[in-house]
């Protein structure tokens, strides 16, 4: 806060100080650029740390484009101030996360930090930003800790926690009549948390876990595991795979002839935005997610049409999360009329925001994690169609969060 060119000095502080004494005014004009306090035209700096290359490139691109679209709808003004973007490719590489976050916070002095996609990058980023850092909005990374142990007043999430990707799955699978289930997932933090959350609801309700098969991340050679799965003969398998791995898993599962005897379930990423690549192999696969392309509400229809026009691409859940990240920042900035120094007030506006999102109603828990409906979807003719609401207003336990 004490660096010379930081725009963090608030109008309120400024007014108080200058009215108390001229000495205060002098101090304030040395500390902060007077242009903002007087003219109100200084740009708001929004730092973006998302992957634009590698496996998660599509996710990062859609999140950014949707957020930019939301800002453009609002005339590219945040609380009356124009926006300056500092956009960095995270490459979804944990090794680079700290250095890049550092650059955004200490060198660029961003007012807002948006990112990332990858949970491990998210851990590094939030550790540095929480507390005194910029207001941070996580538009994807799902690690429970980000709004759990690491929760902080200035950290928000518009996507989901791992818990929300596993916990509603247990009852959904049981309700479909499957009692003996195998868990398969990429063996890293997020996958393990999804599996643990699934068990938390599935076991007490009378389900049996036949076996857990964690597979190395980000490897996509599933043949040996599928043979094992076939030999175990469960009723269903609940999975976490995403991106290229999800395409491969769904296709290999179908090619191994397992669709006839074992029902395939998963966290929504298994079939999200992958319809064209998976083709017939995905037909009948059921997943849970807080969004579906085919959700029938006016906001979603409008959003999908606008996204298609603006980017030429189909919107998906990642775009929705980016769009809502933009909305959340707008809410905060509009509440304080562009005064980023009025931090407490802005945070209050953001945490009490109730958003009409393309996904349905979206509000935030005390730990700043989304509370939203989780849908059970099935792939029918290449589309994720909603079968039913799997969990109404699904919350997150925010384990270890001091704000709860």
């Amino acid at each position: 806060m004490s660096e010379k060119n930081r725009t963090g000095i608030s109008r309120r502080d400024f007014v108080i100080k200058s009215s108390v004494a001229t000495a205060g005014l002098a101090a304030a004009s040395v500390l902060g650029p007077a242009t903002f306090a007087i003219g109100g035209q200084a740009k708001v700096k929004v730092g973006i740390l998302l992957p634009y290359t590698g496996t998660y490139a599509k996710l990062g691109t859609n999140i950014r484009n949707a957020m930019m679209m939301r800002f453009a709808e609002a005339g590219n003004l945040l609380g009356g101030r124009p926006i300056e973007f500092v956009d960095i490719d995270s490459e979804a590489k944990p090794a680079k996360a700290q250095q890049l976050t550092d650059k955004l916070i200490k060198k660029e002095h961003v007012d807002f930090l948006v990112g990332p996609v990858h949970s491990v990058v998210g851990m590094a980023m939030v550790k540095m930003a929480r507390g005194k850092g910029p207001i941070t909005v996580i538009p994807n990374a799902g690690a429970d800790q980000l709004t759990g142990v690491l929760c902080a007043p200035n950290v928000f999430r518009t996507s989901f926690s791992s818990h929300q990707m596993g916990f509603p799955g247990g009852p959904a699978v049981l309700e479909d009549g499957h009692k003996r289930v195998v868990l398969m997932y990429w063996n890293y933090g997020f996958g393990k948390q999804v599996a643990a959350a699934f068990k938390k609801s599935f076991l007490p309700a009378g389900g049996t876990i036949v076996k857990e098969i964690p597979t190395p991340f980000p490897k996509v050679d599933f043949q040996a595991y599928l043979t094992e799965l076939a030999a175990l003969k469960p009723d269903a398998v609940y999975t976490f795979y995403a991106g290229g791995g999800a395409v491969k898993f769904v296709k290999d599962f179908a090619a191994a002839g397992l669709k006839k005897s074992i029902k395939l379930y998963g966290a929504g990423f298994l079939t999200e935005g992958l319809g064209k690549a998976q083709g017939d192999a995905a037909e009948g696969v059921r997943t849970i997610l807080h969004y579906a392309d085919t959700l029938d509400n006016p906001v979603n229809h409008r959003f999908r049409a606008a996204f298609k026009t603006a980017t030429g691409a189909q919107a998906d859940v990642y775009a929705v999360q980016g769009y809502d990240a933009g909305e959340l920042i707008l809410r905060g900035m509009n509440a304080v009329k562009g005064d980023v120094g009025a931090r407490a007030e802005m945070i209050r506006a953001m945490e009490t925001a109730e958003i009409d999102s393309p996904r349905g109603k979206l509000r935030f828990s005390k730990s700043h994690n989304p509370i939203h409906d989780i849908y059970l979807r099935e792939v029918i003719r290449g589309e994720n169609r909603v079968v039913r609401v799997a969990a109404k207003e699904q919350d997150d336990p925010a384990t270890g969060c001091s704000m709860v």
Partner: protein, 289 residues
């Protein structure tokens, strides 16, 4: 678990081994025989997969895709050799590492510009699209068996060219003593350009053939690079037979590792490499240098 379970796993292991050899074949030629360290091997694999996706999309058939894609891959290889690699033969290996690392970045960027960031799939040609039932609830895709067959042809073909033909003789001679071969009146520059192009085309061919089973996505080449090095190093540089045996060993160890020691699955291949290198630093079939 019954016997049939282990038999199916054995099939998985062998098939995975074939796939690994296919993926590492270009590396065998360039690194194993010519001693060129090519970090962009994975990129050429990725380019092959994207070419297959793109050209199959246009022509409607994977075979046409491969047929049209191979000359493009050869050309890419030729241009890279002429305008980049050829300046570095006399320099330290580190220069090749730096150069080919830069190529990774360039090709990743080109891939995004040309084909975007979506995940794509390539359709299996209809007459290979079926599966053969193996156990009461599992069946085996015919296309995977087809890949194995192609691998056998490829491995024997490469071995024959390198060991028995005049071209192979020149390649081996050129790799071990460039100046001597040149003084015998052989155009080494042309020879190396040809071999490098072939190596690139092999990597791309692997990507094309594997594209229907491995989906096509940004960054797909990175998974391929490390394991290809492992295959070549285990087998011993300079030996196609070695690379083949290395691929099979890794196929077996990692498949049964996944089943018997699931917690260790991701390190099995590397542990195997470490053990073999401790025992035989030159690799299984490598000559002592």
């Amino acid at each position: 678990m019954e016997l049939s379970f282990y038999l199916v796993q054995l099939l998985n292991a062998i098939q995975y081994g074939f796939l690994l050899f296919l993926v590492a074949s270009g590396m065998t030629l360039l690194f194993g025989i010519m001693g060129i360290i090519n970090l962009a091997h994975g990129s050429f694999y990725m380019i092959g997969a994207y070419l297959a996706y793109w050209l199959t999309d246009i022509t409607g058939n994977l075979w046409f895709g491969i047929l049209l894609g191979l000359p493009i891959a050869l050309l890419v290889g030729y241009l890279v050799e002429r305008f980049a690699i050829s300046f570095l033969y006399k320099r330290d290996h580190l220069y090749q590492v730096l150069l080919t690392f830069a190529l990774i970045l360039i090709f990743n960027e080109l891939q995004q510009i040309l084909w975007g960031t979506d995940v794509h799939a390539v359709a299996i040609p209809s007459f290979l699209a079926g599966s053969i039932p193996l156990t009461e609830n599992q069946s085996y895709p015919i296309y995977r068996l087809f890949i194995s067959a192609v691998c056998i042809v490829l491995a024997s073909g490469m071995s024959w060219v390198i060991q028995k033909t005049r071209l192979g003789m020149m390649i081996r001679a050129g790799a071990s003593n460039r100046e001597m071969v040149q003084s015998l009146g052989i155009d080494v520059n042309r020879l190396f350009a040809l071999v490098f192009s072939l190596g690139v085309a092999l990597a791309a061919f692997a990507g094309m053939l594997a594209s229907p089973v491995d989906s096509v996505y940004p960054g797909m080449g990175e998974n391929v690079l490390i394991i290809s090095f492992v295959v070549v190093v285990i087998g011993g540089t300079g030996s196609i037979k070695g690379a083949f045996v290395g691929a099979m060993l890794i196929g077996l160890v990692s498949t049964f590792g996944k089943v018997l020691l699931p917690e260790m699955a991701s390190v099995m291949a590397y542990a195997l490499m470490a053990i073999i290198l401790l025992w035989r630093p030159q690799g299984l079939f490598g000559r002592r240098t």
